[in-house]
């Protein structure tokens, strides 16, 4: 166990950051995804080639959690500013980007993500106003289609882990199996769903997400209870190593304003 106390959100960010390898071309969304990405850069991937979907290159955020992916906190020390078509199109949808981190309001057993809206039940044949409008796809759809692999970061709650998302904002493996191949996306799809309780990974053939690992403070039972489908557990599922002191120190340097430290 780590010598230090840490939050579930910090564990999620560190577990996500561990998926990023040095030298990769990577795109980070706003908020927690960005903290996870810049944590990786600060800790074990100093040569990660990071960008935002606004076409901000070479930046290290200052002053705490950036307000947005184009804001002054990330514009202070950038080496290049270009455009959305450049970042999301030329570098991501093209298939060049190694890894992207996206969030989700809902995610389903095949890694499809809904960030568009919540309805009271199925939408039906006629599209209609939702009960709760969310943020829409943003760049996540483009990342989900184009990045070689996608990491999905999401708080592990039953309402978020559903059998089938009401609205596919960003495609995972769609109906599973080879369904995704129909669209010829250059990106391979989500390789992990990293949550506040553990890590899910897709079965190589069915593409259904199964439990791959839990955190020191969670376990299989808690994770199953918080998952809205009959979650399978991988044969070699295991516990994720706790954050090292160096990891926590690096994360907290990035998360200067403590966005991840609020206990969840």
């Amino acid at each position: 166990m780590s010598a230090q106390d840490y939050t579930r959100q910090e564990m999620m960010a560190i577990a996500t950051g561990r998926e990023i390898r040095d030298g990769e071309l990577a795109i980070f969304g706003v908020g927690l995804a960005m903290l996870a990405g810049y944590f990786a850069q600060a800790h074990h991937a100093p040569r990660v080639r990071a960008m935002t979907e606004g076409g901000v290159y070479g930046a290290t955020p200052v002053g705490g959690l950036p307000w947005g992916i184009e804001c002054n906190r990330i514009s202070t020390n950038a080496t290049s500013f270009t455009s959305a078509i450049d970042a999301l199109g030329c570098l991501v949808a093209s298939g060049r980007c190694d890894v992207g981190i996206i969030g989700a309001a809902q995610v389903d057993r095949f890694g499809n993500v809904n960030t568009t809206a919540i309805w009271d039940g199925p939408i039906g044949d006629t599209y209609r106003p939702p009960k709760t409008r969310l943020t829409g796809a943003g760049g996540a759809n483009d990342i989900a289609c184009g990045a070689k692999r996608t990491l999905i970061m999401v708080a592990h709650e039953p309402k978020r882990f559903v059998d089938k998302v009401t609205y596919v904002s960003s495609p995972g493996y769609l109906e599973g199996g080879d369904a995704r191949a129909r669209y010829g996306f250059p990106g391979g799809g989500p390789t992990a769903i990293i949550t506040t309780l553990g890590i899910l990974r897709p079965h190589p053939r069915t593409r259904e997400f199964v439990l791959d690992a839990w955190f020191a403070f969670s376990g299989v039972a808690e994770i199953k209870a918080n998952t809205g489908w009959a979650l399978e557990v991988s044969q070699d599922a295991r516990v994720v190593p706790e954050p090292t002191d160096a990891e926590l120190a690096a994360l907290r340097r990035v998360d200067e304003t403590g966005a991840l430290r609020k206990k969840s």
């Binding site: 706003v30 908020g31 979907e53 606004g54 076409g55 901000v56 002053g63 959690l65 950036p66 307000w67 947005g68 992916i69 184009e70 804001c71 002054n72 906190r73 514009s75 202070t76 500013f81 270009t82 455009s83 959305a84 078509i85 999301l88 199109g89 991501v92 949808a93 568009t116 809206a117 939408i123 044949d125 006629t126 599209y127 209609r128 106003p129 939702p130 009960k131 709760t132 409008r133 969310l134 943020t135 829409g136 796809a137 943003g138 760049g139 759809n141 483009d142 289609c145 184009g146 609205y167 596919v168 904002s169 960003s170 495609p171 995704r180 129909r182 669209y183 010829g184 996306f185 250059p186």
Partner: protein
């Protein structure tokens, strides 16, 4: 020599906007630089039934949606990044008052690029296979939607992809950091999609945080991504993006971002916000008073201020930039 295109904000809104138009905002993402002051003036002049083309929602669309001025919108992202969901837009969508057609953040600028190039359609290798393709708020009765992102076959390989509909909005009100009186513009920070939008829109009005002498443009022509030949009017309006930020000029006003979004969550709050912050000023001076002169000073102390340094020698005093 071309003539000065400087004009006041009320004049620009009066001349270049009308009820029912396709109105596009040129901005840098949800909480970045956007001419929110232009949206306030649209409300002051009681424009309505607007069809909004916003690459992303901003506090401008949030406000225009909350008040009911926008009835149709197309965008790629409808939140406010770390400031959460856009409450005014949410209310309008959830009540059915506003039809929001969803695309992604790449689809929107590609559609603008297609409009700029005069293409009949734009190849779509994203958004296909998702409900963005399947569902249409503008044509809700057809699922899968027939006409939003139809299929097209690649003649080289026989592979099926999608086709985006190009965008050519009636007007783009584009926020820029620096403009000269002729309409040449420099943006600091990501362009986002302002380059493509400036070519796609039928008319372009620039809203600049500051006005510079044209000598600045001749010194940095590679920075002038919007040339005067495609610009109708230039409005000088300091803190035009407030409460959002503008790299090199001012930071986000976090307190007002939160206050504004909370106000727009209810009809009563929206009415109060409009009273206080849409009708709460007469001109630039009283607009700055409304923000608070001390707040302006504090926000101007942005860590990005050094980005403006190379251009300061060409900045024109406000009295020289009145229309």
């Amino acid at each position: 020599m071309p003539d000065s295109k400087l004009m006041t904000l009320p004049e620009a809104v009066a001349r270049f906007t009308w009820d029912g138009m396709q109105y596009a905002s040129g901005a840098a993402l949800p909480v970045g630089s956007d001419a929110i002051a232009f949206g306030r003036e649209l409300l002051r002049q009681q424009r309505g039934d607007l069809h909004a083309i916003f690459h992303c929602n901003t506090q401008q669309l949030n406000l225009l949606a909350a008040t009911g001025a926008v009835t149709r919108a197309e965008c790629g992202f409808s939140g406010l990044e770390v400031f959460g969901f856009a409450n005014g837009l949410r209310r309008a969508v959830e009540s059915g008052r506003l039809a929001l057609e969803d695309y992604s953040n790449l689809a929107m600028p590609l559609r603008l690029l297609g409009g700029a190039l005069g293409w009949p359609f734009v190849p779509a290798t994203v958004n296909i296979g998702s409900d963005i393709q399947n569902r249409s708020a503008f044509d809700p009765a057809h699922t899968p939607s027939r006409d939003k992102i139809p299929s097209v076959v690649d003649p080289f390989t026989g592979r099926t992809i999608g086709a985006f509909r190009p965008l050519t909005p009636d007007l783009a009100a584009i926020h820029v950091t620096l403009a000269d009186a002729l309409g040449n513009a420099i943006m600091l920070g990501t362009e986002w999609s302002r380059f493509e939008l400036s070519r796609a829109a039928k008319k372009v009005v620039l809203i600049a945080d500051a006005i510079v002498d044209t000598g600045c443009m001749r010194q940095f022509p590679n920075l002038v991504r919007i040339p005067d030949i495609i610009v109708e009017a230039v409005v000088h309006w300091p803190f035009a993006a407030w409460p959002q930020g503008s790299p090199g000029m001012y930071d986000i006003d976090e307190a007002h971002m939160t206050l504004m979004n909370q106000a727009l969550a209810t009809e009563a709050g929206t009415d109060a916000y409009v009273r206080d912050f849409v009708h709460g000023y007469r001109d630039v001076a009283s607009y700055l008073d409304m923000i608070g002169r001390e707040t302006c000073t504090r926000l101007s102390g942005t860590a990005t201020g050094f980005l403006l340094d190379p251009f300061r020698q060409w900045l024109l005093p406000a009295e020289g930039t009145a229309a």
